[in-house]
Symmetry: C2
Subunit: 340 residues, 2 copies
């Protein structure tokens, strides 16, 4: 009974109703809602009163249609594996993005553009102007999305510098610097026979980390031929480590382009009877939570993931407000634990 009378599915009140109740024109009401000038103090207050009497909330859709600007931005994760997003990395990015979006009144749409269907949906999203801007992450080499986004009519910022196109706006972590730091640390500890397991070399991060590795070896004048390709996965790291052991049973250290792979590598190392860091020193990359719990705890390079999210969002915001931000490279740093 009460139910029925009290929360009868009342339509949301419209601006007209507010205006009528306040005894002003719709235009006037609109002005006070958007607190624009040119409305007398009296009317302004009348409208405000009407607004909370009625519990009025502006209809975002109508507003978007009228102003031709969407109230949301999208964070798109591109890739080929549907479950890739499960990587805690992205969750942290989201937290960062959210932190800055929360200050605005933009909503966040998430688009997992894995699968052809997903990509089509993202394209749709870009073209329908449903969103006011896009943050695009983790596309590999020949990702068609990059080009597509590039020519979209909304602002786009890339997370990680894309390789196949000339991106103007991106924020990236200093992957190359971090890899170099790690490798230098290995060298400084007296190791000479140093290998690497790379990430996917069709991704910017994978390439950059390999370059950093080579940089360090070059200045030290060391052999840099000991590289095995990986794919960022635990299993991939394990088998790559196996190949490395075959090629160079006497290796002393390996820089591994992701912690996941490092975990796999640790496992095959243990199986092969090698001690870490006694026989071989290991340094990973990413500083994932699990890295603290491996045996031994993994020395790794940390990147400011949440900051990356924050900066992407900030960059997009400034782009959307007509500015022309510069690309940003975020610092990485070595986390000393026990594996090196």
């Amino acid at each position: 009974m009460d139910q029925v009378t009290t929360d009868t599915p009342r339509r949301q009140p419209t601006l007209d109703e507010v205006a009528e109740r306040a005894g002003v024109s719709r235009s006037a009401a609109s002005r006070v809602i958007n607190n624009a000038p040119h409305v007398s103090r009296a009317k302004r207050e009348a409208v405000r009163r009407a607004v909370d009497d009625l519990g009025y909330v502006p209809n975002a859709t109508a507003r978007a249609l009228a102003t031709k600007q969407a109230g949301s931005v999208v964070l798109a994760i591109s890739g080929d594996d549907p479950a890739m997003f499960a990587d805690p990395f992205f969750a942290e990015v989201v937290v960062g993005v959210n932190a800055v979006l929360e200050e605005t009144d933009l909503e966040l749409m998430l688009s997992l553009a894995t699968s052809t269907r997903g990509q089509a949906r993202l394209e749709q999203l870009l073209r329908t102007h449903q969103a006011g801007g896009v943050m695009l992450m983790s596309l590999h080499g020949d990702d068609p999305l990059a080009a597509l986004a590039q020519q979209a009519s909304v602002p786009v910022v890339f997370g990680g510098r894309p390789l196949n196109i000339e991106a103007r706006y991106y924020v990236d972590a200093d992957n190359r610097g971090g890899a170099r730091l790690a490798t230098e640390h290995l060298i400084a500890s007296g190791r000479r026979k140093i290998a690497t397991i790379t990430g996917r070399i069709d991704e910017g991060a994978g390439i950059a980390r390999l370059q950093g590795f080579q940089d360090a070896l070059a200045v030290a004048g060391l052999d840099n031929s000991l590289v095995e390709p990986g794919d960022f996965s635990e299993d991939g790291g394990g088998t790559a480590m196996g190949r490395l052991l075959d090629r160079a049973p006497d290796l002393e250290a390996v820089f591994i382009a992701s912690d996941q792979m490092a975990i796999g590598a640790l496992r095959t190392l243990a199986r092969a009877g090698r001690t870490v860091p006694g026989d071989v020193a290991i340094i990973g990359f990413n500083d994932i939570p699990a890295a603290r719990h491996t045996t031994p705890p993994l020395t790794t390079v940390n990147q400011p993931i949440e900051a990356l999210g924050r900066e992407m969002a900030r960059m997009l915001l400034s782009l959307m407000s007509g500015k022309e931000p510069s690309p940003l490279i975020l610092p990485t740093r070595l986390i000393h634990r026990d594996s090196a």
Copy 2:
């Protein structure tokens, strides 16, 4: 030069333009876009041709305004810690949700309703009808959002059964059953002096896991007074374990309501010179990735997180299409590793 002429920022073509070019009325054009009946084969084709000549894409906002139904749903995570979303748990939920949404043409909005600001934003989202439905997760006891969502005018499904309100639509994991399973396993292995570290007992999952623990102890006729409150965090688990050791130095097993806490507990156990599972057996909950890499690898109870996401989305979809789905409880299962 080329630039300027080729991608001059052409406005997206409108339905009127398509209609004109195809030589039909706007209504007819609309019909073929939404492939509704009552349009001749000839016109239908003319329109289709015009559509891809012009590269027409319907404006989602206008459509939403006209039909009064939004093209998106929101996944809201409520809580008090802004970084809580970083828990890989949610990422996996998102993957599940995305999987089913991908089949539709609904977009996913993410709302991290941590912080007062965030909650206000979510409330806004609910009231402006920007979204066609909501999936709400992880609210603790007195979460105002639950009530708010309940009286929202859009369909709501809860992830995890909320405690302070009578929810009609929710999907949850069988936390109680899982906890019971774990505890029974402990008992079956011959342990008698069994303790638990609970999760937050203002959350449904926390309570249910405690109940499952007590269930098992009750049927075995064992003492169930050894419970220490935790908060789902690693540190919380560590200190709770400390308190347990003080209270009952001779305890033989402990069921811990989350892997994070179990990791903390493992650490203080090691510091106290206790071996696992020799001196004390440990079982965690959640089966997080890091649980495979602790020493010893953690026996834990797994819940089908991605499925939880999928089912929430499915339930929301059916709700939105006017059906009346029943609540769903997803099975949990024990993962045998080495800590028990």
